[in-house]
Symmetry: C2
Subunit: 326 residues, 2 copies
Amino acid sequence: VAGSRRGAGGELVGDLLDRARNGDRHAVARLITLVENDSPLLREIATGLMAFAGRAHVVGLTGSPGVGKSTSTSALVSVLRSRGRRVGVLAIDPTSPFSGGALLGDRIRMQEHATDDGVFVRSMATRGHLGGLAAAVPQGVRILDAAGCDVVLVETVGVGQSEVDVVRQADTTVVLLAPGLGDGIQAAKAGILEIADVFVVNKADRDGADQVTRDLRHLRGLGGGDATGWQVPILKTIATRREGFTEVAESIDQHLRWLRTGGEFERRRRDRSAAEIEALALDTIRRRFSDVRGSAGLAELAAEVADGKSDPFTAADRLLAANPQE
Amino acid sequence: VAGSRRGAGGELVGDLLDRARNGDRHAVARLITLVENDSPLLREIATGLMAFAGRAHVVGLTGSPGVGKSTSTSALVSVLRSRGRRVGVLAIDPTSPFSGGALLGDRIRMQEHATDDGVFVRSMATRGHLGGLAAAVPQGVRILDAAGCDVVLVETVGVGQSEVDVVRQADTTVVLLAPGLGDGIQAAKAGILEIADVFVVNKADRDGADQVTRDLRHLRGLGGGDATGWQVPILKTIATRREGFTEVAESIDQHLRWLRTGGEFERRRRDRSAAEIEALALDTIRRRFSDVRGSAGLAELAAEVADGKSDPFTAADRLLAANPQE
């Protein structure tokens, strides 16, 4: 056994992968932690996962704070479980230093599934990395996939371009909305139409739910005839009462069937792989570049800019010329 | 006059800069728009600004949604104006496709200063750019600086590492908190101590304000004796009644005087320039790299990863090898 394969905890990656494939929750959790912490073993984990991943249906769930995302996820998990599916939930925590603790309560709410061997729930935080979410989330998905999950739900707060990018990488993207969240739909116009495969209007018993539904129908109509042939359904749910999630599960299944019939499935998976490769390559470039931080050259250039003797663009050019990326 | 110096609107950068220096609001707004939109004229603008910038006191204001940031900013502007200062406000809009419209209301609230020639208010959105905020904000600050602002307030929602980085680039950073925002302080522990030069507890008339103040004092104590000799003040305000902002303005002034006495002022400005140069260099690298997106090589590598024939790390290495960054 090569010493280089030993992790900080002394485990072997191969052993962890074997155990994870047998549904060992501890091994799954440990692997995700290694990915999250950008472990030196990451590449070995990624390589080892390739043979066992690609089977699960990856479903992204996103929506603004306050739409009832965690309660909805939990209700959807229950329906999927009643249909015999093994389910993984990967909850992406925002990296804000100001709101970092907010999702803890959400995780606690998911505890109704804590004793169910067919459900894996993990939150994942990625701090400050340039390629962060885009590079780490696919590995987290593959781990849950390799552990035998039929469906992997990737849950994100709909805040920030990088999170939208993550959700966009799913096979099927569910966008949650709710009435009473102000100008949500107006604000969301720009990005929401492109990324949603299924719309869910939660809190459907509240005033304004019909208006949200009408707005969505209008927005959907603005998109014109859908050339790809998928009509994005608009479903109503009441997550606190578990109402409507059978329909959500069915729409998700229908979308997967549609993906598989037209070649769209392969196209999306290739797009997803391309995005992942780009993120990793960009991360490599960033790491190379970060080697030059704090070098004598940078300090001198910074002093020139601070003193008004040079402009920052010229200084950046000179920094790059002095520190070639090859 | 060289044709290359003409912008989309036909203006000359030199002419815009001259007018901005004379306090022409239209020219200031136009320049900031050019910076925000990553205009081809950006480099020329940056170069032209160097001779006229570096004079203003740059003050970062940040805090979670709900702390009363815009009302506080407006109240602080009033105090600074009453002391004869010219004030620029650069409000950094988050780039979320889901909450993009939220700051519009804030801008409207700042309209009390709309008819004051000594106040410039501009919001700035930067979407999707890797070096985005870090590269664009310093130019926005320089424009307001060159336009004769004595103080430039950079206001950000305290969400996301990139925004914290922006605020960290200020001469003086004011962190706003308020009671009743849940686990704000707990959550903020990680990042808040390092970046605050002044703490403001807004909504000081509400239940829990004393607790927030006590928590902050405790956190400040945990930081140990401050080697740099600046004791971060903890001030109470009620922004809706304009109470407490004379003290905030005085603390900001005191901090500037402290910066200037110990050499810390130069050190921070050089750090800021270094961060800006790095962001621009990284952006250049990213642009070079983005040239390879969608190339035949990437599509083939993505197909291999999607089909499980290669892992994404190896694919990224091969992409970089095939597309050298020099």
